[in-house]
């Protein structure tokens, strides 16, 4: 619900933005010749995102954008040589000299991969070490693959869980709780397309197959204006484009899954392909076991991920990409058995997954004006089916139950970036999205198979929404290295004749004090037009994806963050950051409410108008050069919520309000053929709500009355679990064969067998007292997954 006051607020912000844009255009203007182009890998032609480019003569610099493009205007006297220095994480720096620059010039720069593995890039707008951006972490696939992984299955999300300000949720799960936010408040995108549920295996593995990933960025604060739609973070994952010059691939076998990927040129240096497939094994094991136990039984679980990417360079100014992802989880359990005069059949299947397809067009209007246009489709759906059939002589009885839940969208997103000069860049774009929600479709059908009788019930719920976003912004770099980035989004959202318009101003300033010390401050406002609720922490497909409506308006978040970055002489980068977030208009399911009830009035199940706040301090020391590399981080944080209809209207801590968190990730190169990596995580424990009292009340049951045990719970999240900590370790042994590189991985998850909580429950334990007397004691029990667990993996890369 946006009041008039807020509309006035929006207008005032828009005016500020307009003034800013005019100020940008009144800069020195378009002078001199521009050097623009793309930076890519020298072998594969893969474009390198956010590579640093600076003018050696002037210390002015820029970076490639999210598509590998850059544009820089040296502004030097005519005839002066221009020396560009290009740097990128994990690559050897390169220098490009251009003489007699008389007109705009397009260059394609190819960097050679270096020997060192840099773990986490501290994002720099200027590779000379000039400025830094708050609240961002960027990881390459190389780093993700090098860290220890469950069952040998490396996981992007698990690595981000090791960065400051990010909590993992329950043991082993892929939830990201970023700066006091919940997992549904993360915008997770693959090639600029949102994925709504990234959990496999109950959340233990995410949907991102590292073989198909080029790079990824997690943004916690200082959000660029082109990103929005969620309150707490943006995880921007880019799929590899495919090798433009030669065919290469990868085959990996782990104890729980296998992966295969192949990429190469379709037409050399012009078009490429990438195909990557991953499959989980369990059904191959479980089915024969179930059949051995009972010949008619079947049980199984599997998931797969398929990534396909095609790209074509049409000419120097145009390149198109097609990305496809399809991933599904499926569980099944059932039996078919013969009876004396017929058969009994029962089968329950649960299937959930994402499908996304995107067509992207990069176009250079000029050496200064770059555009990126995306047309995409994405959908997530849960499909639970239960079928049974009983035949008895000539009689047959068939029942079918189906529960469908899902969300989908079609979106068109054109955007442009204009490089006025090395100091000034502006960007803008629109995002038009049609989105549908099917939170709970239920079908029940019964028949005799011969149309003699049939009955059924259909409960269908379809909600359609339209979202229109306009974003714009610009970045000014002052000669001293200070930068100011100002922008904003206008979020418009329409559903059921209800229209929302929400401004989202974004301000970010970086101060370059000297070559080693930078500081930054940012302010963000974010809004979220949907509510994804359910048991987020478990990661099973029990989430409900619902739009904001009249009674449950879009959620809002404002964040102020500030920090320091110090680059020491020995190659270690120290960062510290403070943040304060304020949430409003949050929605949460009321106690005991379940959308599976099939209610028409589902909004009544929500407690709305919730508020929250989260604040904390993050510290990180990263070593990107030398041996070993890695990082250590510490987070001090607090996160609270308040709903009128929950916890008697009192403020309560968020479930994952974890006060202290320490993460260590280290990669050590032992020799040319072996390396070691380890990850240690510690947090001071998450929050619990427990029953503190019980009582009995009579419940009538036909002719008799029984006394039902009831519970009174503590205040919401009043209790705290014991600290969580775990050490994972992994050795990689490499052997270069004639045609391929073979890697054997030996790892141990939870090296010292710490039992961390996954769930809690009560039980009665029989104890012995004095004189061997027996008595029962009610005890709180903790269930843990993943004890000391070795894993092996084998892979070849060719």
């Amino acid at each position: 619900m946006i009041s008039d006051k807020k509309n006035r607020y929006s207008v005032s912000h828009n005016l500020i933005l307009l003034v800013f844009i005019i100020a940008l255009l009144m800069q020195k203007g378009v002078t001199g010749q521009a050097i623009s182009g793309f930076v890519s890998d020298s072998k594969s032609g893969e474009r390198l995102l956010y590579a640093g480019i600076y003018l050696a003569n002037t210390a002015k610099g820029t970076s490639t954008n999210g598509y590998g493009f850059f544009s820089i205007t040296p502004g030097l006297p005519q005839g002066d040589p221009v020396v560009l220095v290009i740097t990128y994480v994990g690559y050897l720096s390169d220098t490009l000299m251009l003489n007699n620059l008389m007109k705009d010039t397009l260059v394609n720069i190819r960097l050679k991969a270096g020997l060192e593995l840099r773990p986490v890039e501290i994002i720099s707008g200027n590779s000379s070490g000039g400025t830094s951006s708050p609240g961002m972490h960027r990881l390459t696939a190389q780093v993700i693959k090098s860290l220890p992984a469950l069952g040998g299955e490396t996981d992007l999300i698990k690595v981000y869980q090791l960065t400051p300000g990010v909590q993992q949720g329950h043991e082993g799960t892929s939830g990201l709780h970023v700066r006091g936010g919940s997992p549904d408040q993360n915008l997770i995108m693959l090639d600029d397309v949102p994925l709504y549920n990234i959990n496999h295996l109950g959340g233990f593995i995410s949907a991102f197959n590292t073989d198909a990933i080029k790079s990824s960025t997690l943004i916690k604060g200082g959000f660029p204006a082109r990103f929005g739609g969620r309150l707490s973070s943006v995880l921007d994952v880019s799929m590899a484009d495919g090798n433009l010059s030669k065919t290469s691939g990868n085959l990996s076998l782990g104890i729980i899954s296998a992966r295969f990927s192949l990429n190469g040129p379709i037409r050399k240096n012009e078009s490429s392909y990438l195909i990557s497939f991953r499959r989980f094994y369990f059904d191959l094991i479980a089915k024969p076991l179930a059949q051995r136990a009972n010949s008619g039984s079947t049980v199984g679980y599997n998931f797969y991920d398929l990534n396909i990417k095609l790209s074509r360079i049409i000419n120097t100014n145009n390149r198109v990409y097609f990305s496809l992802y399809n991933g599904d989880d499926k569980t099944l359990a059932g039996f078919r058995e013969k009876t004396d005069d017929g058969t009994d059949f029962y089968m329950q299947t649960n299937r959930w997954g994402n499908t996304m397809a995107a067509l992207r067009w990069n176009h250079l209007f000029s050496s200064r004006l770059f555009s990126n246009t995306i047309l995409h489709f994405t959908r997530y759906r849960v499909n639970n089916q239960l079928e049974s059939e009983t035949s008895n002589g000539n009689n047959k009885y068939i029942t079918e139950n189906q529960l469908l839940s899902g969300i989908g969208e079609i979106s068109l997103k054109p955007g442009t970036e204009y490089y006025i000069n090395p100091e000034t860049r502006i960007y803008s774009g629109i995002q038009l999205t049609y989105r549908y929600f099917r939170p709970n479709n239920y079908t029940y059908y019964v028949s005799d198979g011969n149309q003699q009788f049939q009955s059924g019930h259909n409960h269908k719920m379809l909600m359609q929404a339209f979202e229109g976003i306009i974003y714009f912004g610009g970045k000014i770099t002052r000669p001293a290295g200070h930068t100011l980035e100002l922008g904003g989004r206008i979020n418009t959202f329409t559903i059921n004749n209800r229209f929302y318009i929400i401004p989202e101003p974004r301000i970010k300033a970086n101060f370059h004090h000297n070559k080693n010390l930078n500081s930054f401050v940012s302010f963000d406002q974010m809004s979220q037009n949907m509510h994804i609720t359910g048991n987020n922490s478990i990661g099973m497909p029990v989430e409900y994806l619902l739009p904001a409506t009249k009674s449950i308006p879009p959620s809002l978040m404002k964040q102020l963050s500030a920090g320091l970055e110090y680059r020491s002489g020995n190659g270690i980068i120290y960062t510290s950051e403070l943040y304060y977030k304020h949430f409003s208009q949050l929605a949460m399911l009321k106690d005991g409410a379940s959308l599976w009830e099939g209610r028409e009035n589902w909004e009544a199940l929500f407690a709305g108008n919730g508020k929250g706040r989260a604040y904390g301090a993050e510290f990180m020391a990263t070593r990107n050069e030398g041996n070993p590399t890695g990082w250590i981080s510490y987070t001090l944080a607090r996160s609270e919520r308040k709903f009128d209809e929950i916890n008697n209207g009192l403020i309560f801590p968020d479930q994952f309000d974890v006060r202290h968190c320490i993460n260590i990730a280290m990669m050590l190169k032992i020799d040319e053929d072996a390396d070691l990596s380890l990850a240690w995580v510690f947090n001071s424990g998450y929050r619990l709500t427990l029953p503190v009292s019980k009582y009995y009340v009579p419940v009538e049951a036909g002719d008799y009355t029984h006394m039902n045990e009831m519970y009174i719970y503590s205040r919401r999240n009043e209790f705290k679990t014991k600290p969580y900590h775990r050490l994972d370790i992994s050795f990689n042994f490499h052997k270069q064969k004639k045609r391929y590189l073979r890697t054997f991985t030996l790892g141990i998850i939870n090296l010292y067998n710490q039992r961390n909580p996954n769930a809690f429950y009560f039980t009665e334990i029989e104890n012995f007292g004095p004189n061997n007397t027996r008595y029962k004691r009610i005890t709180l029990m903790q269930r843990s997954f993943f004890p000391f667990m070795p894993n092996v993996g084998w892979s070849i890369r060719f």
């Binding site: 069952g151 104890i255 729980i256 094994y281 369990f282 076991l289 009983t390 008895n392 009885y397 029942t399 239920y442 019964v446 009955s455 059924g456 019930h457 048991n535 106690d591 005991g592 009830e597 209610r599 028409e600 009035n601 427990l690 029953p691 503190v692 009292s693 019980k694 009582y695 009995y696 009340v697 009579p698 419940v699 009538e700 049951a701 036909g702 029984h706 006394m707 519970y711 719970y713 919401r716 209790f719 014991k722 769930a759 809690f760 429950y761 009560f762 009665e764 334990i765 029962k776 004691r777 709180l780 029990m781 903790q782 269930r783 997954f785 993943f786 004890p787 667990m789 070795p790 894993n791």
Partner: protein, 293 residues
């Protein structure tokens, strides 16, 4: 076997006791009465126990004091060895009745209920064996009544089936109850005892309504002499509706605290400074007898 071992290792759940101090919460009074307004009022009164207390049901707390207040008159309740009873209460539909309890530790607890006006079902039609689902025959019950317009009304419909074989009466309650009618589908019908249809008139306020429902029962085909079907339509209070709706949900989740999947859940009663429910309802009954002799 390697894969199997690996999988077992992967998912082996370790279960360990947790030494967590759960402080003793304040003991509060529990009061419960949910019955027809014209029956003798019987109130169950008890106290809460600590969650680690292994004592099972302790029975009614005979040390408490209780009163009902009707038309400005306070009537003390008498403990009869099982419940606290109020004799001679002459409340009628439309009246407000209050309950006051002074617990053993001196805590005052109060609740009040407005007795709803009676709604009379003008038709309850029963069609035996009308539907076959999963090899089970369901009989159809068609409930029709006029819903008063105005504020939201709440109803509870129950069915008691008694099968009589030979000369001795044997009782078998229906064992499953379902409805595909949107009104009922929207009301999260759960198959937990007591199996009743609890619904509001949110979808049909002020109109005549006819709701088909189905129940199944065990057949005793050879010696069955009579089947007596008693249907009851109750007009209940909003507090009754909310309490039992949340109670059903609670019972659904109840095993949660023993299995680790529970979410915090409170049953919504109307007892101030306490727990439980105080609610009186009106009801109409209809009896159909099938005589096979």
């Amino acid at each position: 076997m390697f894969f199997l071992s690996a999988f077992v290792l992967l998912f082996t759940a370790c279960e360990t006791p947790v030494d967590m101090d759960i402080p003793r919460a304040e003991t509060i009074t529990v009061a419960f009465a949910s019955q027809s307004y014209n029956d003798t009022l019987q109130v169950y009164i008890a106290r809460t126990q600590h969650i680690y207390d292994t004592t099972r049901y302790r029975g009614c707390d005979s040390t408490a004091e209780a009163f009902v207040i009707h038309n400005g008159t306070q009537v003390p309740l008498r403990y009869n060895g099982n419940r606290f009873v109020a004799e001679g209460l002459s409340a009628q539909p439309g009246d407000t009745v209050a309950l006051q309890v002074i617990g053993a530790e001196g805590g005052h607890t109060i609740a009040q209920t407005l007795i709803p006006e009676s709604t009379i079902a003008h038709s309850i039609e029963i069609t035996p064996s009308a539907l076959l689902i999963e090899d089970v025959y369901y009989s159809k019950v068609q409930l029709s009544f006029d819903d008063p317009s105005g504020e939201t009304n709440y109803y509870e419909f129950s069915l008691t089936v008694t099968q009589i074989k030979d000369d001795s009466a044997s009782s078998f309650g229906y064992h499953y109850f379902r409805s595909f009618d949107p009104i009922m589908v929207n009301e999260d019908i759960m198959q937990y005892e007591p199996i009743t249809m609890l619904f509001s008139d949110a979808m049909f306020n002020g109109s005549q309504v006819s709701i088909p429902m189905y129940y199944s029962l065990f057949f005793i085909t050879e010696t069955l002499q009579k089947v007596i079907v008693v249907s009851e339509l109750r007009s209940v209070t909003r507090e009754h509706y909310n309490y039992f709706k949340s109670l059903y949900k609670f019972m659904y989740n109840e095993s949660g605290i023993w299995s680790g999947m529970t979410l915090p859940f409170s049953v919504n009663g109307n007892i101030e400074n306490g727990a439980g429910l105080f609610s009186l309802f009106t009801s109409t009954r209809d009896t159909v007898v099938y005589d096979f002799r």
